[in-house]
Amino acid sequence: MKKKYSIFSLAKNALSGHKEWPKMWRSPEPREFYDVIIIGGGGHGLGTAYYLAKEHGLKNIALIEKGWLGGGNTGRNTTIIRSNYLWDDSAHLYEHSLKLWENLSSELNYNVMFSQRGVMNLAHNEHDIKEIKRRVSANNLNGIDSFWLSKEEIQKKVPIMNTDNLRYPVLGASYQPRGGVARHDAIAWGFAMRADEMGVDIIQNCEAHQIRTKNGTIEGVETSKGFLRANKIGVVASGHTGVLAESAGIRLPLQSKPLQALVSEPIKPIIDTVVMSSAVHAYVSQSDKGELVIGAGTDSYNSFTQRGGFNIIEDTIRAMVELYPVFGKMKMLRQWGGIVDICPDASPIISKCDIDGLFFNCGWGTGGFKATPGSANVFAHTIAKNEPHQINSAFNLDRFASGRLVDEHGAAAVAH
């Protein structure tokens, strides 16, 4: 039955003390065979299952997740959404995603709390100014809302920012008004609920151990709940994608590193936009609860410890306090790390591979959350049709042989 959320359902359930809310999804035991198995129950994986069922009419789909839904990087990021990337390929992919975000709450009838409060990327030196102005022009040519803000305009929007009295003064910024933040859990839960309603088996606490292949074709996956046969498998396991690929004999150009974030104690509204700075490496937004959500960087070495080095957050906090002296006496509540898989060109891989029926959606590195619906949408297309959607055709595995990289390192507004 389709679950509907409205002011009336809220009132009705309030009367019964919120004890009668129906379960959002079933917890079925796995069947022996599926047409498609998605490995990874984060936003990208759940979205893929949702679009496979909704847009491609597939019925026999399973999604397996080693822990709980959205418990990996979906629940460990700073939820920033924007599409102001430099290269056409990236701009089209992220803009596709941003357009889906804009309609997602009503499409899912579930509030993903997408708040288009604008995203600012600061320039701190002459080179930043040139790069950012170039990117703004590239965005405009791609029909993406993006413009240059002078220092005075920044001061007006974010009066608490220290623009002058610091080592790397703020000289201007790019601004994308349609960018913003969304609720990370809600996107996972919304996709999960609607995918489940269309018959997708969402199986939690089911770890994928090994992908089995035979004569270059997919056979299935060994899991902690037994062997599941499948015609097609989509791997969306972020930091662990490389480990699973290895089990199928595929080497991917990925390196896994912890990426950290932290939140402060809640305070009254003080910053109503998202401000990012690549040069001094600090970015911040304020959650609806009032906590400052602060993004730090990755460790310099490969690691699977979901924790990260202390020196990384130390650097970020130093930059934060310099940029916003008013935050100097605040206390941090929580800190966490998620394992991200980084590609040599800092662009994702949404691609088939040498093995028939095996698909990868990985390499999102430090900026995958914003792409959740778009990535899921084109990955579902790739799996269903056995060929990429026009939007993700550039993000194939062949680019590491052909040399046609989508080199977003430093070129985009990427903060890492």
Partner: protein, 116 residues
């Protein structure tokens, strides 16, 4: 934060070092014969194991020498560091604590980062 035993200077704080990625990567032979794909693999693909990993470090803010290391990427425990001209240690000499692909060590990740 790691404490890294530089084979030349002894144990020092991680902030003095820079990581150099996978160690013992060999440039392919027969550069005229091999195709784009082999070159692509050599240029772009590096091992990324969860568990025992051969890697390089350089003591940037110290003796500035490069050296190799075996580290368990599931715990960050550094098992041995050795000079570039030393033979690479056999991984069977070490125990990896990861039992399943996404498994976590019992002690909790990150707890090996200080010297035992």
């Amino acid at each position: 934060m790691l404490i890294i035993n530089c084979p030349y200077c002894g144990p020092r704080d991680q902030s003095e070092f820079s990581n150099g990625g996978e160690a013992h990567v060999k440039r392919p032979d027969g550069s005229k014969e091999i195709g784009d794909r082999e070159w692509g693999e050599y240029v772009f693909i590096r091992a990324n194991p969860k568990g025992l990993f051969y890697e390089r470090w350089v003591h940037t803010h110290g003796c500035r020498k490069w050296f190799n290391c075996v580290r368990d990427t599931s715990t960050d425990e550094i098992l041995v560091t050795y000079k570039l001209d030393e033979k690479k240690p056999n991984l069977n000499n070490f125990k990896s604590v990861v039992k399943t692909p996404s498994g976590e060590p019992e002690v909790g990740s990150g707890n090996f980062t200080v010297e035992k």
